[in-house]
Amino acid sequence: MSEFQTIGKSLPRIDVRAKVTGRAVYADDIQLPGMLHGKVVRCWEYAHARVKKLDLSAAAKMPGVVRVLGPKDVTQKPYNSSVLDLMVSEPMHQMLGDVEDQYLFTDHVKHQGDAICGIIATSEEAAERAAEKVVVEYEPLPVYLTADESKQPGAVQFTPLKPGNLAFELPEGMFPNHVYGWGDADAAFAEAEVVFEDSFQVPKQKQAQMEPHAYVAQYDDQGRLTCWTSTQMPKCVQRKLSKLFDLPMSRMKVNQTVVGGGFGCRLGMVMEPEACAMALAVPGRPVKLTSTREEDWLDSPTRHPGKYWMRMGFKKDGTPVACDAYFANYKGGYYLDGSGVAFTTGAWLGGMYKFGALRYRGESYFTNQTFCGAFRGYGNPQTNFVMEQMIDRACAELGLDPVEWRKRWHKGVGDDGWCIGMTYSSCALDECLDRGAKAIGWEAKRAAYAKQTGTKRRGVGVAVMNHTSGAMPMLLEHTVCTVRLNEDATAEVLLACSEIGQGSHTTLRQVAAETLGIPVEDVHMAIGDSDATGYDIGAHASRTLYVGGGAVKAACEDARRQVLERAARALAAEPDQLDIRDRQVFVRDEPSRSLPMERITQLGVYNFMDPQTGKTVGDPGQIQGYSSYFPPHNSPPFGACFAEVEVDTETGEVKVLELVNAHDIGRAIHPAIVEGQLEGGAQQGLGFALTEDTLFDANGLCLNNSFTDYKMLGPSDMPKMTNILVENPDPYGPFGAKSVGEAGLVSPVGATANAIFNAIGVQVLQAPITPERVLQALASKRAQ
């Protein structure tokens, strides 16, 4: 029997009933009395232009229009919609050089879809009709779609704060010579017996979460601004909005609604500034602002695309001597977290293998596309695509088995993880590799596919990955939790951790119930109202179960300690002799000495004094547990993915036949939710590898901002998937758990690319690996 009551059980999700009945309330579902509708007028004609003239007079006269808002009618403070500034210290912020380069409404259009002005009307349709009457004259500017173009001397500057349109490079103060890594790479390469290098391209993938962005905002009669939002980061957004609009935080409220998918797209502010600016323009009236799918595509962040060069040196026995890498990403029109992915892409690279030396440089360049931000994996899939193909090229050249090479050379317990100095506290990657290889039939298939003829070729490939559980030490990790015990020994857990579909509220409730020793049904998660909850960073960096769960566990341990202290007095025992299970407090070695937990919580609240004796029974005071939790460590998960593909060498088409995803997650608090993360991650990872890229024409206008033209794998495209959950409890994670949110996406990228390499004997250097690129690769192989 499991040592746990709740942990490890796939219980129905907290929110599932509301979601299958359609009663879950997403932001666009909110209806308030007197509600108005906002519309942002965007530049659809140009990707780079200056606004020469803006005339709102005709729009203002349209029926139903309440207000028109030009750039001077709203705050003109520059801002940065990302939240990195909140998560690093001031000196670190200065060193990184993160800048504020966004304006609510701009006169310098930097990407198609940039915001020009706003309309507030009595209906969405009235706002849209008025938007058509806005007159804008533009002066077109040269369009830069790659770093090579925007960094040319004489190019139009995106912001005076970043000369040369170099948004970011690893800062000298922290990374001498702008390099992250260890050892002397040049000296190490001199020792190498074989060296490989190549240049790769990675795509501008879009989160394409199913719910477009939606908000309601209201400036009420107390002078308080409330924003209902589909954000992933309610507390950070509250802080950012309060700064942007110069409102004390006590007058800025954020209500997180049910969120229809995030995947990083809703990190920081998205269109909250526009919604709030509109609400401030019509005091008292709620304003709803929703984005169309096309707006979502062009005015909310994407993954960072770019050029990724890598060189690796080995001894002939496979010893990895040195790795040199350079990733120049195309940042899009605005800075956001320009420093983030440029660094982490190298961090995941450094966290994987025991190279003798590593030299990584990362740079971000402004370009005239939708700005980049966070997308599940945050640089890791880019690295996986490149690093894992380079490893397999070396294995092929040196005659080594890719599984055995990885088992020999991956980092493990005690090695530096994603940041130098943050060592791995647990690692079960060998078990992932062994079980995954067995599940896919690695040896037999590799042998069989070595001697294929015909036009359809099969291949099997492997890739491994490391990730993080939270963003420490680069960024702040902190979650506040309060747990309040009711009179009847049920509990309310108050915290701001985001449920973005990943199931966090369900798993955090399990952590609470297990710690308190009460049934999971008796725990209510009171989340989403910034008035009631303390600080939390939000759902990013796969942190919610690891850090949020740590906070819940600490708060519940605090409450539990108080229960046990009181129970010890009642039972004439010591607190450490007691345990709680199913709402009974009992002496561990003598379970018949027990009392219902309810007796303690009841008497804590209803602590009557006997008027005749002046005495009370039991201990007074409603029990509350509290934690302001800064995790002591960052315990990264590992994963090994195996993919089998069939490549049609006549058409270039790739069909993924099977995917085995083996992950070291520490402990599965809720196995079905873990599986769901891996399976959903795989769909996005396969998309990165095979089909997904936001495309622009030479003028920077988007060619595929719709589900028809942007190809994601559908139900018929998805392969058979096998999940292997390797449980190797981590010493720091709550109940041994490590993260899983982003992990599932990463290694399917490299595994698929390597399976294609195995099938056709040539690597495709640009993701997504489209049929055209497969055919080009085959042609170049024949030409050699």
Binding site: R13, G261, I724
Partner: protein
Amino acid sequence: MKERNITLSVNGRVHHLTVPVNKTLLEVLREDLHMPDTKYGCGTGECGACTVLVEGSRAINSCLMLAATMDGREITTVAGLDQGGELHPVQQAFMDQAAVQCGYCTPGMVLKTISMLAKNAQPSEAEIRHELEGNICRCTGYAKIVAAVQQASGQLEAPTLRQAV
């Protein structure tokens, strides 16, 4: 804009409405009838989030259907499926199989499944996947949604509590 008087039955309740001829069924459901259970995902019939049933079993994208053309029709949305606290077997299957994450595609998925099973009570896995092509889910990778359809069609048992493997 021209208007038209229509009678629309939604989840068994009859509504007499005057609708502009350019208004979609999705807009009428959400804005006029204040029934937000049917979702906007793309507005162009690509994602299936706005799926509703016509005459109990035919799935359509309500974002592509003008309300004025639906006069006299009987519409079922996901909110009309559960009766007296009892979930519809398809809803129950989505719950049992952990086929719901963010939930935004779920109303459309549930209704599409009902429509699929009305045509073919025992679809093969390939048929299920083919039928679901018009409904996009970005969270699940479809594996557990396929399992939910299999459970709803009696081809798969409802799972008991699972332990980690």
